[in-house]
Amino acid sequence: METKSIMIVGVGGQGSLLASRIIGNVLQSQGFDVKLSEVHGMSQRGGSVVTYVKYGDKVYSPVVQKGEADIIISFEQLEAARYVEFLKKGGHIVTSTQSIDPMPVITGAAVYPEDVIGKLKAKGIDVIAADALTLAEQAGTAKASNVVLMGVVSKKMDFDREVWIKALEECVPAKFLELNKKAFELGEQAAV
């Protein structure tokens, strides 16, 4: 199988590392060669963060480059716009509708673009937008918005539901498992 690429983008502190671990677990359980690439350190401090996930028969580079991503999972609208050039032709974007002003917008040095999702759709891109934050709060905590998005993205990938649930069980601490399963389910429903 040709190598497939997924990008998880968001704002430092939003929980993209857990998301990549869940997807990595799913892919490894299906027998793929898998590589994940994460960013630690300075940019985690509220900066724009990117995690790459690649899988196939044999994966070489752990990073995704422009025009290569089959799916972009975005935890924040503006980040979807920032990385849209990385999307492959015919690729999908799964994004949270959450918006977080970056510091240059807060200080007035830049403007947050309006209707980001509408403008991405107007480009002919398949965009699924979900209010992951509200759904996560419904599940019990805003912190689970990453798992809500996993629920959404599971509908864009061809793996059985049980595989995802098993990955959740292996990646999430036991005491938060039920909450995260609920978050995942709300994500699945939002994808429809």
Binding site: S48, S61, P62, R82, V84
Partner: protein
């Protein structure tokens, strides 16, 4: 058993499997997790040292004592540890000694883009470079073998993309080596001129034998496909080249990067039509090839700066570029910022308001240089804030002494700021030093340090008392401020700047991300009282924004630190 592992975790697994029993490191992105993961194996003693020099000396001591030992650091940390490294190249080892140095092409988390291969060459030790997690483990084990066989420390060079990528690793059992016998050997381990003179030819011979070994070592791999294009590469660049070129090229992948083979390279070069060297940062392999009289294309195509990626290889060698969809409007940048509730914010707002010269240092607080605070004039290297301000003040005199401060974190102060402060006291510098004590090493992801009262394993440890330490080295005025109380903090800074003689202010408040820190409920803005004056924006809090002319607080980010409340003269902010 196969496991998806971070390169750094696989490195730690390699230490475990190789029977390493001593680990001493100083944290630094992207190397930190090697030591954190190593600490999870009970079979290995693991510690954080106050700096890389101490870590390397401790590891060498353990090796001399007969234990397989390890120390880890980022590229700039190796500069700090260069002194023991260069002499360890001469003494050699008893049991194997392996060093991790993690370079950061692209500078994701660093102040420069130096290439550590130069250190390996200059210190006359061996260096190997893995390209994925499996190799991180295997090369670490091979490094211990090489270390013992050739009587030398061996460096395993990591780069960010190898250190912080996960790939599948096959796990093996640990081999317990026990403690080797220690035999007193003055001629080998006491490096005074008479002995070092006799060691140097032995060191040169070691390098010659290592180079000979590299001709046939399985760590160097040749892979013939289409021979119209040949690629010599190592580490992550091998992965980029393979992805971009596949079977369209033949490869010589160097696992041993110092010293490099000659015949292997010449033979490979003779079999391919056009030869490229694909390496990030400096032209180390390229210059080696050119010195052998081999024609290669390298830096002229790929440049010296940043990362290369598969896209760079495809574009430069094949002329291929992927089709992209763009967003039509400018997307505002999202630089890193101090977290909501960060204790550094209050202090830097005071410094920004006072307009003083700020001699900065390395840590989360370097973000004090970012807009809107912009309260920093210099950042050089770990520990430089205090010493550089001393020099600045000595030449500018009274004029600057009353209008300048040095800022340094607790861990950085322990690392190499202390000696700068000794210099300030000893040479009577009229200098104000602010130690930002947030009870943790923040930037690298919460490591303990000698001031926190806990060791790497989380057990209780002796804690340095910063106030007593400063007084004992001769600083008479030592005061503590709470940066959540900006009025008090500003008052203390002003008073200390007015005084003659060196002084220290400890700005003390734990990092807001520490699990044990209890937060207040998020604050809210009373929209009726808010007039949209934007005074609250001056502190650069990521939880605060203005929408429809009124302040808004993001309840998912706010931890109720109250700094913004102190900014609002209209009392619009409350619980």
């Amino acid at each position: 058993m196969n496991k998806l592992m971070l390169g750094n975790a696989a490195f730690a697994r390699g230490l475990y499997e190789a029977g390493c029993t001593f680990v001493s490191s100083y944290p630094g992105t992207p190397s930190t997790e090697v030591t954190e993961e190593a600490a999870k194996y009970d079979e290995m003693y693991a510690e954080w040292a106050p700096n890389e020099k101490v870590a390397m000396e401790a590891a060498l001591g353990a090796s001399i004592a007969g234990a397989r030992s390890f120390c880890g650091m980022k590229h700039v940390g190796l500069n700090v540890a260069a002194d023991p490294l260069y002499t360890a190249g001469y003494t050699g080892v008893n049991a194997g000694m392996v060093i991790c140095v993690a370079d950061d092409p692209g500078m994701h988390s660093s102040q420069n883009e130096q290439d550590s291969r130069h250190h390996a060459i200059a210190s006359k030790v061996c260096m190997v470079e893995p390209s994925d997690s499996q190799e991180c483990k295997e090369f670490t084990k091979a490094a211990f073998e090489l270390s013992e066989q050739y009587d030398t420390p061996v460096i395993v060079r990591m780069t960010t993309r190898v250190a912080h990528s996960q790939s599948i690793v096959e796990l093996n059992d640990r081999v317990d080596n026990g403690l080797k016998e220690y035999k007193k050997d003055i001629s080998k381990f006491v490096m005074m001129p008479g002995n070092a003179i006799r060691r140097h030819p032995i060191v040169e011979d070691k390098l010659r034998r290592l180079a000979e070994f590299s001709e046939t070592s399985p760590l160097n791999k040749v892979e013939y496909n289409d021979t119209r294009i040949g690629v010599i590469t190592s580490g992550i660049c091998y992965q980029y080249a393979k992805e971009a070129l596949g079977d369209k090229a033949s490869y010589l992948k160097l696992g041993i990067v110092v010293p490099m083979p000659e015949k292997l390279i010449k033979d490979f070069a003779a079999k391919v039509d056009k030869l490229y060297v694909i390496e990030e940062l400096d032209p180390v392999i390229e210059n080696h090839c050119k010195a052998l009289g081999i024609e290669v294309i390298g830096k002229e195509l790929f440049g010296m700066c940043g990362e290369i990626f598969q896209s760079g290889v495809a574009e430069k060698i094949l002329g291929e570029k992927k089709e992209v969809v763009s967003f039509d409007e400018p997307v505002p940048p999202r630089p890193p910022a101090m977290c909501a509730g960060c204790p550094h914010r209050g202090l830097f707002y005071c410094l920004s308001k006072l307009g003083v010269y700020v001699s900065g240092d390395i840590g989360c607080y370097t973000l004090g240089a970012a807009a809107p605070l912009c309260a920093m004039d210099t950042t050089i290297c770990m520990g430089a804030s205090i010493s550089a301000l001393h020099g600045y003040n000595k030449v500018r005199g009274k004029d600057s002494e009353k209008k300048s401060v040095a800022v340094i974190g607790d861990s950085t102060f322990m690392h190499s700021g202390m000696t700068g402060l000794v210099n300030v006291a000893y040479n009577a510098s009229n200098t104000v030093t602010i130690i930002l004590d947030n009870s943790i090493t923040g930037m690298t992801g919460h490591q303990q340090n000698p001031t926190t009262g806990k060791n790497l394993k989380g057990d209780p440890a002796a804690a340095v008392n910063l106030e007593e330490l400063c007084r004992s080295i001769g600083i008479k005025s030592v005061r503590v401020a709470d940066p959540y109380n900006m009025a008090q903090t500003e008052k203390i800074i002003k008073e200390e700047l007015e005084k003659d003689g060196p002084s220290v202010i400890i700005s003390r408040r734990p990092c807001a991300l520490l699990k044990y820190v209890k937060h207040n409920p998020p604050l809210k803005c009373d929209k009726d009282k808010c007039v949209g004056c934007k005074q609250c924006l001056k502190i650069g809090c990521p939880a605060i924004s203005i929408h429809n002319g009124k302040m808004e607080i993001d309840h998912t980010l706010c931890v109720g630190c109250g700094i913004c409340k102190e900014m609002c003269k209209l009392g619009a902010i409350g619980e």
